[in-house]
Every structure is written in structure tokens, then in C-alpha cells.
Amino acid sequence: MSLTHYLVLAAILFAIGATTVLLRRNAIIVFMGVELMLNSTNLLLVTFSRIHGNLSGQVLAFFVMVVAAAEVVVGLAIIVTIFRTRRSASVDDVNLLKS
């Protein structure tokens, strides 16, 4: 199987993740969309690393995993705080700030 297939798969996963972020209303699901985008990028990086025959892409993929973990910690903390305050994690209910 050609390496291009992995790139196409990465692009499809990224598109699914971005669509999830833009269309879903639950903050947790939105956040899962972001994680899908990050992981599809990992696939992209690892594939390019293989194509170019150097390790930079794989190293970056490791850093992305660590950053994604840190982002989960911060993100879930914020979403849980909002949920405990409002009994809802819907991004539509968070609408007090308007001009």
C-alpha cells in the first residue's frame, strides 16, 4: 500500500475532527474533535517522516502527544467547572458575553 494512502486517511480524520468541533454542541464532544485533529496530524507527521527518511516528524509527534495530554488536563478542568456551575456542558448555553 502506498504511503499516500496514510496521508489521505490523515486528511479524512482531520476533516472529521474539524467537522465535529464546528457542528457538535456538547463541549466534551467538541474537545474530542480537537483531539482527533491532533492525532490525525500525528499520523501525517509520522508518514512524512517515513517519506523523507528523517526523524523530525516522529519527534514532533511525541511532543504533540505530551501537549495533547496537558491540554486535556486544562480543558477538562475548565469544562467540569462550567458543568458544575450550570449543570450543562452545551456550548450553546454559554452565551452571557455578547455585545
Binding site: 514532533l60 504533540v64 456550548v91 455585545s99
Partner: protein
């Protein structure tokens, strides 16, 4: 496999960043080991010492860098050249001033942060935490981590470090935005919006980094720039990757169409945090943008010019027009910061050496005025009845109508705020004028005179709403002098506001309470004096950089060469 050889690391040039990040780590340990009663003092001393140390380290590196042109540490992960030092010094200085605003206990011994950010707003636990005088001293290490990330962000020519620095600067800011003591629902909402949008955009940016890596086979800016010189049939990857990368940077500087978070987050976040992120994030992100546009993508100038031009014009126009109709001080300053992002972009687009100097100077001038302006916003408070029926200082009076008559009741605060507004508007003898003049003349020099023209027109329109605030403060009766008057006849501004307030009938209850608060009279408190010191330094900077800018401009110009 050959054996592993450890890389040579020039530790000296990394000191400014290292000092800040190490102090942040120590700050986390302080949270664990120092008794509660002494934490605030220890954290504050540590933070101020670290930021002052970073400034000193930059000063120590200066002459060396001015002579040699700069050092490349760890294969481009950290490039310490003239622009890096200027940006790091600017960020450290502005963060130092912001720390003073962070620490000030303005109202009744309470600072701007929730006693316990984990407590549900309005719960018994929150009230207990407030009465026991708990403090969230974690804000100081968070501030240091964010500052460390910001100092790294414009100093790297490596996409990996760029991404890590972006997250290091963003994650603490997401948390800090949600820690407001008052109006906690708004604060938490700001935090969530900032986080979700920020995470989405950093994922987009990361995908762009992946595509650029696929195009060039390297994460270094100079390798990518070299690869753009020889077509290899993968230009699609390059263009899309560059656009996604720029989208991430545009989000951080708050340029249209990635500005939607700016007003909400600036309004909802605690005011000291707003001042800090408005000033320092913009400095860091524009530094990174300079390096990307000048160092990585000059070969793409033809393709990207259209995008940069459209973004710059839209940013100036949208920021200015939207600011015209705002009724909340923090929101107004947010839209004005969007407009300023557009002005700085004209200097970036110039693609001239004078453009680098102009952008660096503009960022310093804008940052000083921003920290000072938000410092004053944090001091202008609502006055109400306290627990013992005496007068008490409540939350911030951010409704513009509450600022009416401030010039008479508190002339010093009003005059200082006027100074910052004049600097934003770009009136001569303020730093803002010199900055605007520098970026617009760089744009003309670079052949982008149309942009400079739009910029000048937008500045003229922007002057209108700055002057409107000045008129409101000095020449309008304060609401409490005409208390019995009906809402229609209070002030000319209040009636001008009426169309905005009219559709509010359908908004949920918390908004209505916020609107009811507007009649409370505003007062200016001195706090513990820390904010006053910070505001005074910002005012001094604004005046000195406006009256005698040439030493600073010359110093910046003498080192304004980006290393590849």
C-alpha cells in the same frame, strides 16, 4: 548505529527564558511547601525577581549580540538575535508591570482572583473560602509559565519549538481567564470560549506545520525557505500549510477573521489578566509572525500578499467600526486592540528592514498603554453598601455610562486614562503616534501605500471613539448628580446607548442584573498602591517614548536584523 553525541549547547543566551521558567517551577514548589500565610509574599517576590532577572540577562546579552549579530542555540530551536532580545525585554517588562496589577488587593483586601477557583459560584463553600480569606496564589507561577512561553515564541526558528511555546503560553492563559473573583459566570465562560477556540486553532496550526514538514522535509524555517526556491511539485502542501500556520498566528494576535474570541475573553477575564494577555500575547505573536513572514515564507510573498493585505485591511476596518458601538470599557479596548493588530500588520507586510524596527517599537508603545489602561480599569470600581452599612468598594465599573463625570471626581485617574487613549489614537507627543508613524512609513517604503492610507483613515475614525470616552469623563455630568432623572435624560451618551440596550429584553436574567448595575456610581480606589505604580510607569513610558523616541528607535534599529 553510531554512538550518540551530545549536542553543544550555548547556555548563556538561553538565560532570560530559563530564569523565568525555572522560577515558575520553583513557584509550583512554593505552593506545596510554604505555609499559606506567607505564600503571597514569597510568590510575589519570586515572580518580580525572576522577571527583573530576565530583564538584566537581556541587558547583559545586548552588547554581545549587537556586535556579533546573534547566536543560534540548538540548531535553531532558540535564536538569540537583536529582535529576540528586544521582544524578550518588552515581554519581561510588561509582565513585570502586570504582576504588580495582579498582586494589588484593590477592594477590601481582596485581589482580582477567586478565593478558590474550584468552588461553584454562589455556593456555601465559596462564601466560606471568601470569609476565611483563601487566595489562589497559583496565579503567579501560571503568569511566569505564560511569560516563559511568550519569550520563547518569537525567539525560535523551529516549528517544533514554535508549537510547544504556543501551548506553554496558551494553557496558563486559559486557566487565568477563568479565575475572576467577581462575575464568575462571565469569567468561566470567557475561559471556556478561549480554550475551545484556542485548542481548535492550535490544531489547525499543527496540521499546517505537518504539511510544511511534508513539503520541505525539515522543521527549520531556513530549510523551508530554501526549499521554496526550487519547485518540487508539492506546492499545494506549501501554500495550504503556510495558510494554516498563519491562521494560528492571526488567532493569537487577534486579526480578523480570527478575532471573534477577543471581545468576549477580554471582557470576561479578570482585568489584570486581560491587560497582561492583551499586551504580552500580542508582542509574542507578532514577533513570531515577523520571523515566519520574513524568515520562512519570503519566497511565497506573491501568493501570500493577497491574504496578508485582505487580513490587514479587514482587521483595521472591523476593529474600528465595531469599537464605535461598544458600551463596555473592556469590550471597547478589546476591539481597539483588534484595530491595533491591523496597524502592526501593515508594518509586517512592508517586508522592509525598517518594518522590523517599526513593529518592535509599536509593540512596546502599544503594550505600555494597554497594561496602563487596563490597570486603571481595574481601579475604577462601583460603590455600594458594605456588610457594616458603610460605603464599600464593589466590582469594576465597566459600563461606559458609569465613567461619566470621572474627570471631575477623580481627575488624576481620568487624565492618565486620557493619556493612554491619546496614545492608542496616535496623537503626537505620545508613544502611539511615533509607533503609527513608523509602521505607516515602513509600509509606504515597502510599496504598500494603499495599506498606509487605509490605516490613516482607520486611525482617524478610531480617534472618534477615544475622544468620546474623554468627553464622557470630563464634560458629562456623572449619573449620581442627576440620580432621579429618567433613563432617557441622564446623559447624551446614555441616550445614544438606548438603541443598543433596547433588544436586551430577551436576554437571560444575569445580563439584566448586569444592566441594572449600571446605575451604581463609580469611584476610583488606590488599592495597595501596586497598580498605581504600574500605571505610573506605563504613563511615563508612553510620554517618554512619545517625546524623545530616538534613543529607543536607534537602539532597536541598530540590532533589528533577523538571523535565518
Amino acid at each position: 548505529m553510531s554512538g550518540f553525541t551530545a549536542p553543544e549547547i550555548a547556555w548563556g543566551p538561553t538565560v532570560p527564558v530559563l530564569v523565568v521558567l525555572l522560577a515558575a517551577v520553583v513557584g509550583v514548589l512554593v505552593e506545596a511547601f510554604v505555609p499559606v500565610a506567607r505564600r503571597r509574599v514569597v510568590q510575589l517576590a519570586l515572580t518580580l525577581a525572576a522577571l527583573a532577572g530576565a530583564l538584566l540577562a537581556v541587558a547583559a546579552l545586548w552588547s554581545d549580540v549587537a556586535r556579533t549579530g546573534g547566536t543560534d542555540v540548538l540548531g535553531g530551536s532558540l535564536v538569540v538575535d537583536g529582535p529576540t532580545l528586544v521582544l524578550q525585554a518588552t515581554i519581561a517588562l510588561l509582565a513585570l508591570l502586570s504582576t504588580l496589577v495582579f498582586a494589588d488587593r484593590v477592594a477590601g483586601g481582596e485581589d482580582a482572583f477567586a478565593p478558590s477557583a474550584a468552588a461553584v459560584p454562589g455556593s456555601d463553600y465559596e462564601e466560606l473560602a471568601r470569609r476565611k480569606g483563601l487566595r489562589q496564589t497559583e496565579v503567579y507561577p501560571l503568569l511566569l509559565f505564560a511569560t516563559g512561553g511568550m519569550m520563547l515564541f518569537p525567539a525560535t526558528t523551529d516549528l517544533l519549538t514554535l508549537f510547544v511555546a504556543l501551548e506553554v503560553l496558551s494553557l496558563p492563559l486559559y486557566l487565568l481567564s477563568g479565575m475572576g473573583r467577581r462575575r464568575r459566570l462571565l469569567s468561566q465562560e470567557a475561559s471556556m470560549k478561549y480554550f475551545l477556540l484556542g485548542a481548535f486553532v492550535s490544531a489547525l496550526m499543527l496540521f499546517g506545520i505537518g504539511l510544511l514538514y511534508g513539503y520541505a522535509g525539515s522543521l527549520r524555517y531556513s530549510d523551508i525557505a530554501a526549499a521554496t526556491a526550487t519547485p518540487n511539485g508539492l506546492e499545494g502542501l506549501l501554500v495550504v500549510g503556510a495558510l494554516l500556520l498563519l491562521a494560528g498566528l492571526f488567532f493569537k494576535v487577534g486579526a480578523v477573521p480570527f478575532h471573534m474570541w477577543t471581545p468576549d475573553v477580554y471582557q470576561g477575564a479578570p482585568t489584570p489578566v486581560t491587560g497582561f494577555m492583551a499586551a504580552c500575547t500580542k508582542v509574542a505573536a507578532f514577533g513570531a509572525l515577523l520571523r515566519v513572514v520574513y524568515g520562512m515564507l519570503p519566497g511565497l510573498a506573491w501568493d501570500l500578499d493577497v491574504v496578508l493585505w485582505v487580513v490587514a485591511v479587514l482587521t483595521m476596518v472591523v476593529g474600528t467600526v465595531a469599537a464605535l458601538v461598544q458600551t463596555d470599557v473592556k469590550r471597547l479596548l478589546a476591539y481597539s486592540s483588534v484595530a491595533h493588530a491591523g496597524f502592526v500588520l501593515t508594518g509586517v507586510i512592508a517586508l522592509q528592514d525598517s518594518g522590523i524596527t517599526a513593529v518592535l517599537f509599536y509593540l512596546l508603545a502599544y503594550g505600555a498603554a494597554t497594561v496602563g489602561a487596563f490597570g486603571i480599569v481595574s481601579l475604577v470600581r462601583e460603590q455600594g453598601v458594605g456588610d457594616d452599612d458603610g460605603p464599600a468598594v464593589l466590582g469594576e465599573a465597566t459600563r461606559l455610562s458609569q465613567w461619566a463625570g470621572l474627570g471631575r471626581s477623580h481627575p488624576l485617574a481620568a487624565v492618565t486614562f486620557t493619556l493612554f487613549l491619546l496614545s492608542f489614537a496616535g496623537i503626537p507627543l505620545t508613544a502611539g503616534f511615533v509607533g503609527k508613524f513608523a509602521v505607516f512609513s515602513a509600509a509606504v517604503e515597502g510599496g504598500a501605500w494603499q495599506l498606509a492610507l487605509v490605516g490613516v483613515l482607520a486611525s482617524a475614525a478610531a480617534a472618534f471613539f477615544y475622544v468620546r470616552i474623554i468627553v464622557l469623563m470630563f464634560f458629562t455630568e456623572s449619573p449620581d448628580e442627576t440620580v432621579p432623572a429618567g433613563p432617557g435624560e441622564v446623559t447624551s451618551l446614555a441616550s445614544a446607548e438606548a438603541p443598543d440596550a433596547a433588544p436586551a429584553g430577551s436576554t437571560p436574567a444575569p445580563v439584566l442584573t448586569a444592566q441594572a448595575e449600571r446605575s451604581a456610581r463609580a469611584t476610583v480606589t488606590g488599592g495597595e498602591g501596586l497598580t498605581v505604580v504600574a500605571v505610573a510607569v506605563c504613563a511615563l513610558l508612553t510620554v517618554v517614548l512619545g517625546v524623545a523616541p530616538s534613543p529607543v528607535l536607534d537602539a532597536i534599529a541598530s540590532v533589528a536584523v533577523l538571523l535565518p
